[in-house]
């Protein structure tokens, strides 16, 4: 069986070799890089532009951005027909290809985020490492001691001057990271936008649309996880304060949470409107110019894919959350529903680009329909199916859980 044949339904005149070759993992790839880039931009709003109210969410966003990075790489590897040869992209990069620079852009970005994290948490590493220097340590303490001492890279200086240098380095890296984060994602847009054979993909707006939607999804994702973590902390503080017969801890957390959410939501709404505006501009432009491919595009967008495009992406994924955010006196619960819907909307946008772009034939007289494999019956249907996508989505959470043990995001060190 031809790879792709398994989940492609063909209708009318489709060329013999046409299948949906780019499936769910290629939907996941821009979705995940979007979250990475967006989370980084959010953290930089504080580090570079000094937007103080974002301070709490900034550190959180940066650590999450780091945890999400491998999540952007895994779907690409899973999708390759010969994954063990993935390294060839670094061995003989063919630079006329938009994909060839991926390894370089990705590792540059990885190094920037890693170094920024190091400068922010260096003081914490030093403190931990010094605290653990004591006789009679348990095995756990000994392992922690090795980890933290290694992470200091031998830089134990925590004088005022050294910490100021850290802060300056953080600021420079955060500023440098913005264009690279945006490039990483705009570049994913370029990969699609430059395919001239595909009538839906080919538009110079594609990288711009990708960047803006990346920022939207990144902010939404950070808000959602932030709310979840804060709720969990409230629950824990509530239990503790009940034991101590006081309500202080719990209300303090709740107050801080609403403030952060309301301010972040303003940025989210701004970027969401921009993203929708750009996508509508693209659609209006295509309709107005109505070149040869318009008939088949229109029948796909307004007909066969109507539910995915207008109901799921624009309706439930964009308009409903926009209304939710614009109603005054935003509550945490409403914000949680809103950001979850925004994330869903952005996922559907990736879906409509990747799958939608392959939903019509090169003949402009036939259609292809993607049937997402749900129950995995083979490795192929696992990785290119619902379970593969869910695994890719859950992987960063596992990494985040481990990372937070080293870089705590809620009892933050003063520096940075």
């Amino acid at each position: 069986m031809i790879p792709g044949e398994l989940w492609t339904l063909r209708d009318l005149f489709v060329l013999p070799n046409e299948y949906i070759y780019w499936s769910i993992q290629i939907v996941m790839y821009p979705f995940m890089t979007g979250l990475v880039a967006g989370a980084f931009v959010l953290s930089s709003l504080y580090h570079v532009f000094g937007i103080k109210p974002l301070r709490d969410i900034a550190r959180f966003a940066l650590v999450f951005s780091f945890a999400l990075l491998p999540g952007a790489l895994v779907p690409l590897l899973l999708h390759l027909q010969s994954p063990v040869r993935g390294i060839n992209v670094l061995m003989t990069p063919h630079f006329t290809s938009a994909i060839a620079a991926f390894g370089i852009v990705f590792s540059t970005y990885f190094m920037i985020v890693a170094s920024e994290l190091w400068f922010i948490y260096r003081r914490h590493f030093v403190q931990e490492s010094l605290l653990l220097r004591k006789p009679h340590r348990t095995l756990r303490e000994r392992v922690r001691s090795i980890v933290f001492t290694t992470l200091t890279l031998g830089a134990f200086d925590t004088s005022e001057k050294a910490l100021r240098t850290d802060e300056k380095a953080t600021k420079i890296l955060a500023a440098l990271g913005i264009p690279i984060a945006l490039f990483l994602h705009g570049y994913a847009g370029f990969i699609f936008g430059s395919v001239k054979a595909n009538a839906l993909w080919m538009t110079p707006l594609m990288p711009v649309i990708f960047i803006v939607s990346a920022v939207v999804s990144g902010i939404a994702f950070c808000m959602l996880t932030y709310i979840l973590v804060m709720e969990f902390r409230k629950l824990r503080a509530g239990r503790k304060s009940r034991a101590a017969r006081s309500r202080e801890g719990r209300e303090e957390i709740a107050g801080a949470e609403v403030d952060v959410i309301r301010i972040t939501a303003k940025y989210l709404v701004g970027f969401l409107i921009l993203a929708m505006g750009l996508e509508l501009l693209d659609l209006v432009f295509r309709r107005y110019t109505a070149v040869k491919s318009w008939d088949v595009l229109a029948s796909a967008v307004y007909g066969r894919e109507f539910k995915q495009v207008f109901l799921l992406q624009y309706g439930i994924g964009s308009l409903v959350p926009l209304v939710l955010f614009l109603i005054p006196r935003l509550t945490v619960r409403r914000a949680a529903v809103g950001v979850a819907l925004v994330l869903f909307g952005i996922f559907m946008m990736r879906w409509n680009v990747v799958i939608g772009g392959q939903s019509f034939s090169l003949t402009l007289a036939g259609y292809m329909h993607y049937v997402l494999p749900i129950v995995p019956t083979s490795w192929e249907t696992f990785k290119e199916g619902a379970f593969g996508a869910i695994s890719v989505l859950l992987f960063p959470f596992l990494l985040f859980y481990l990372l937070v043990k080293i870089c705590p995001v809620f009892a933050p060190p003063e520096a940075g």
């Binding site: 790879p3 209708d11 013999p16 070799n17 390759l80 027909q81 003989t92 034939s361 090169l362």
Partner: protein, 260 residues
């Protein structure tokens, strides 16, 4: 005891020292290797005379057998399309199994929309169009390959190195002609090579040899006396989808405007 500064200095020195001899090594891409072997006095081109094609599918059969593309696989390096235009202005086309088994029934295979029976009395015109890789002069598939596993030989044929292709599918997406697919057993990008192994040895491509009506011909564009070159330069021929700027090198005689 070594200080950190000293350690970093020495590490940089060692890394630099190792890099100098290593930088003398070069990974030769498949394109470089091919450039050493190929004949530069040749530019392979193809001529398809659609007026002569009867849709027997012999070319598709021959191609599959010659080129290790599994016979039952629903993909093919070359294929034949059937076009039927009816009096009501409608256009129907199909290519079941790439036309491998010949067009023996007048019904149009519409895939999910099942078979469509057309009353012969309503037909204005109908014809067959053989298709294969256009071996473009400006191949988008070569441009987008991230590892250089697909390349154009100096004699104009686009090849895929099965040992180097990572199977990302970008080339498949980039081809406006749908000429590429994933090989079901090698799991690498697969395409028509004009039967490079045959033409390089002085034999005609398998499909050219199998065509009983001479609808398919291969020639050398750099040889003015080649009958294919003469036909292309003196007759009215056209290419497919020139608007993509790919400069395709498969020329067609008798191509209708409805052909996709």
């Amino acid at each position: 005891m070594m200080t950190r500064r000293e350690f970093l200095k020495k590490s940089a020195l060692v890394a630099g020292g190792v890099l100098i001899p290593v930088s003398a090594l070069e990974i030769l891409g498949p394109e470089r290797l091919q450039a050493i072997k190929a004949d530069k006095a040749v530019r392979w081109v193809f001529l398809v005379d659609t007026e002569r094609c009867v849709g027997c599918g012999f070319c598709v059969k021959a191609c599959k057998l010659e080129n290790e593309v599994p016979y039952e696989a629903n993909a093919s390096r070359t294929w034949v399309e059937r076009y039927v235009l009816t009096k009501d202005g409608a256009f129907h086309a199909d290519s079941p199994k790439g036309g491998r088994d010949g067009y023996t029934t007048p019904d149009i295979d519409q895939n999910e929309s099942s078979m469509l029976t057309i009353d012969p009395a309503t037909i204005d015109k109908a014809y067959f169009v053989p298709k294969l890789c256009n071996q473009c002069d400006n191949p988008p598939c070569v441009q987008v390959c991230p590892v250089g596993a697909t390349y154009k030989t100096p004699d104009g044929v686009v090849l895929v190195d099965r040992k180097w292709c990572i199977g990302c599918g970008y080339c498949i997406m980039a081809c406006p002609y749908g000429a590429r697919f994933f090989h079901p057993t090698y799991h690498t990008a697969e395409k028509c090579t004009f039967c490079y192994h045959r033409i390089s040895a002085g034999l005609p491509s398998a499909c050219v040899q199998a065509c009983p009506f001479g609808a398919r011909q291969i020639g050398n564009m750099k040889d003015p006396d080649d009958p294919v070159t003469r036909a292309i330069s003196t007759e009215r021929v056209t290419v497919l989808k020139s608007e993509f700027g790919t400069k395709p090198q498969v020329y067609y005689v008798g191509l209708d405007w409805e052909v996709r």
